[in-house]
C-alpha cells in the first residue's frame, strides 16, 4: 500500500510537470494535443475509493491548468475522466475483468488482459479528450473538426499509454 501510494505520487508529479512544462509547448502537425497526464487517471489503483479518485483527478487537472493558464478546463476534463472510470467499473463487475488476486494493483494488461485494458483506457481517454476539446471550443460549429481532434489526440494518448505500460512492465512490476 505504502509503495503504491508513493509510486502514484511520483507519477502525479512527473506527468503533471511533463504535461505543463514540456508537452504544452510542443506543436504537433494537424493541431493535435499530446496529453500524457490522463495516464495518471487511468493507472490509479483499482481499490481506490471513488471519492479519492475524483479528488486526485481534479487535483491533477487543476495543477496542469495552473501551468497552462486555462483555469478549469483540464480540471473539468480530468474529473469527467475519473467519473467515466468509476462508471465503467460499476457497469462491468470487477470479477469479469479481473482475477481476484490482482484487485490491489493498478489496472494493467497483465491483470485485465490487453483487450480489457485497452477498452477500459480507451473509454477513459476518449471522454477526457471529448470533454477537453468540446469545452474548449464551446460550440458545435466545427463539430467534425473537433471530433477529429478528440479522436486523433486520444489515439496519441493511448499509444503513449501502451508504450509507458510496456516499458515499465518490462523493467520491474512496479510503476
Amino acid at each position: 500500500m505504502q509503495a503504491s501510494l508513493w509510486s502514484n505520487i511520483i507519477r502525479f508529479v512527473f506527468l503533471v510537470a511533463v504535461q505543463g512544462l514540456v508537452l504544452e509547448h510542443i506543436r504537433l502537425p494537424g493541431n493535435l494535443h499530446w496529453m500524457v497526464y490522463p495516464l495518471f487517471v487511468v493507472l490509479l489503483p483499482l481499490q481506490m475509493p471513488a471519492v479519492t479518485l475524483l479528488l486526485s483527478s481534479f487535483a491533477a487537472g487543476f495543477c496542469v491548468d495552473c501551468l497552462c493558464d486555462m483555469p478549469g478546463l483540464n480540471a473539468a476534463a480530468a474529473t469527467l475522466a475519473a467519473f467515466v472510470r468509476i462508471v465503467y467499473f460499476r457497469l462491468r463487475p470487477t470479477k469479469d475483468v479481473l482475477h481476484d488476486s490482482d484487485l490491489a494493483g493498478t489496472p494493467s494488461p497483465s491483470s485485465m488482459g490487453w483487450g480489457g485494458f485497452l477498452s477500459y483506457s480507451a473509454w477513459v481517454v476518449f471522454f477526457f479528450h471529448a470533454g477537453y476539446f468540446f469545452l474548449e471550443a464551446f460550440s458545435f460549429r466545427n463539430f467534425f473538426y473537433t471530433l477529429y481532434l478528440v479522436l486523433g489526440s486520444s489515439l496519441l494518448c493511448i499509444v503513449s499509454l501502451v508504450v509507458a505500460v510496456t516499458f515499465f512492465r518490462a523493467g520491474n512490476n512496479k510503476r
Binding site: L21, H25, R27, L28, N31, L32, H33, A50, V51, L53, L54, L55, F58, G61, F62, D65, C66, L67, D69, M70, P71, G72, L73, A75, A76, T79, L80, A82, F83, I86, L135, E136, A137, F138, S139, R141, N142, Y145
Partner: protein, 276 residues
C-alpha cells in the same frame, strides 16, 4: 431521513463529481472576471519566469532573421509616422509642422508564450503594468496585427489574439477605404474572415487589408493581410471575404504594444453602445 443519508452515502461519488465539475466550470467561465484575476496573476508570474528562459534561448536563435525584420520595421515606421499622429488643425491651407501631436506610442515586447492550436488563442508578452501596459491596448507585430491586451500582471500580460473566436477588429480595404469587421472562423491560423463590405464594389484578389483606425486600439494603415477569395454567394448584400494574414503567427517574437495617448478623451466622446 436515515434513508436519505444512506442514499447520499451510497452515491457520494456522484455528488462529488457534480460538485467538482461545477467548481471547474465556474473557474473556466469566470476566467475573464475579476475574482480569478488574482489566481491568474500568480500563475502568470510563475509561468512567466519559466517561459522567459525558453524565450531567451529562442530569441538568440532567431537573432539573424530578427535583424532583417527590424530593418523592415524601421523602414515601415519612417514611411508611415504620420499615421501615429493627430492633426491639431483642420483649417486647410498651410499646416505648420508643429500642428501634429503624438497620438500613439509603441512599447516593445517579446512573446514568451503562444498557443495556436486552440479554439481561443492567447499570447503572453514580457511587458506588464510596470512598463505601463493596460487592458485594452492593441498589439501589433512588424508584419501584421496580433490582438488586444486582455489581462495584465506586474511584469507580464496576456493578449487576446485575432485567432480567438471572440475577436473582432475593424479593418478596411486599402485601395477603396471601405470598412468591415475581421473575425476568425477557427481551425487555420493563417486565415480570417472579413464581413460587412458592401457588395457593390469591386474586389480584387490580393488586395491589401489594413486596420481602419476607427477605434482607439490600432492606428490606421497597419497591414493585416490580403484578400484571398470571396466566401459569400452572389446576390448577398455584403461580402464575406477570406483573408490571408500577412503575419505568420508561428514565428512571431518581437511585438509592439500600442498605447493611445488620447484614449480617455476618445472614450468620453464615443457613444456608449459603440463597439471596437
Amino acid at each position: 431521513m436515515n434513508q436519505i443519508l444512506q442514499l447520499l452515502k451510497k452515491n457520494l461519488y456522484l455528488v462529488l463529481f457534480v460538485l467538482l465539475e461545477t467548481i471547474a466550470l465556474v473557474l473556466f467561465f469566470s476566467n475573464s472576471q475579476q475574482p480569478s484575476a488574482r489566481l491568474y496573476e500568480l500563475c502568470t508570474a510563475v509561468r512567466g519566469r519559466f517561459l522567459s528562459i525558453g524565450g531567451d534561448v529562442r530569441s538568440k536563435k532567431a537573432l539573424k532573421s530578427e535583424i532583417d525584420c527590424l530593418q523592415q520595421e524601421n523602414a515601415w515606421l519612417r514611411a508611415c509616422l504620420e499615421t501615429s499622429r493627430l492633426a491639431l488643425q483642420h483649417d486647410g491651407g498651410s499646416v505648420p509642422d508643429s500642428a501634429y501631436a503624438q497620438r500613439y506610442d509603441f512599447l516593445c515586447a517579446h512573446v514568451v508564450h503562444a498557443t495556436l492550436n486552440m479554439a481561443n488563442n492567447y499570447f503572453v508578452l514580457d511587458a506588464g503594468r510596470s512598463e505601463g501596459v493596460a487592458e485594452g491596448m492593441g498589439v501589433i507585430s512588424p508584419c501584421g496585427i496580433i490582438g488586444i491586451v486582455d489581462k495584465v500582471s506586474e511584469h507580464f500580460c496576456s493578449v487576446l489574439t485575432v485567432l480567438h473566436s471572440q475577436s473582432l477588429v475593424s479593418v478596411s480595404l486599402a485601395s477603396s477605404g471601405y470598412t468591415g469587421s475581421l473575425s476568425w472562423p477557427g481551425i487555420r491560423c493563417d486565415e480570417a474572415e472579413l464581413s460587412d463590405i458592401p457588395s457593390h464594389i469591386q474586389i480584387r484578389k490580393g488586395e491589401n487589408v489594413v486596420t481602419s483606425g476607427l477605434s482607439a486600439v490600432f492606428p490606421g494603415g497597419i497591414p493585416v493581410g490580403c484578400v484571398e477569395g470571396v466566401l459569400s454567394k452572389p446576390g448577398e448584400d455584403f461580402y464575406r471575404l477570406k483573408i490571408k494574414f500577412s503575419e505568420d503567427y508561428h514565428r512571431v517574437d518581437l511585438v509592439y504594444i500600442v498605447k493611445d495617448l488620447y484614449k480617455e478623451e476618445f472614450e468620453t466622446c464615443k457613444h456608449p453602445s459603440g463597439r471596437i
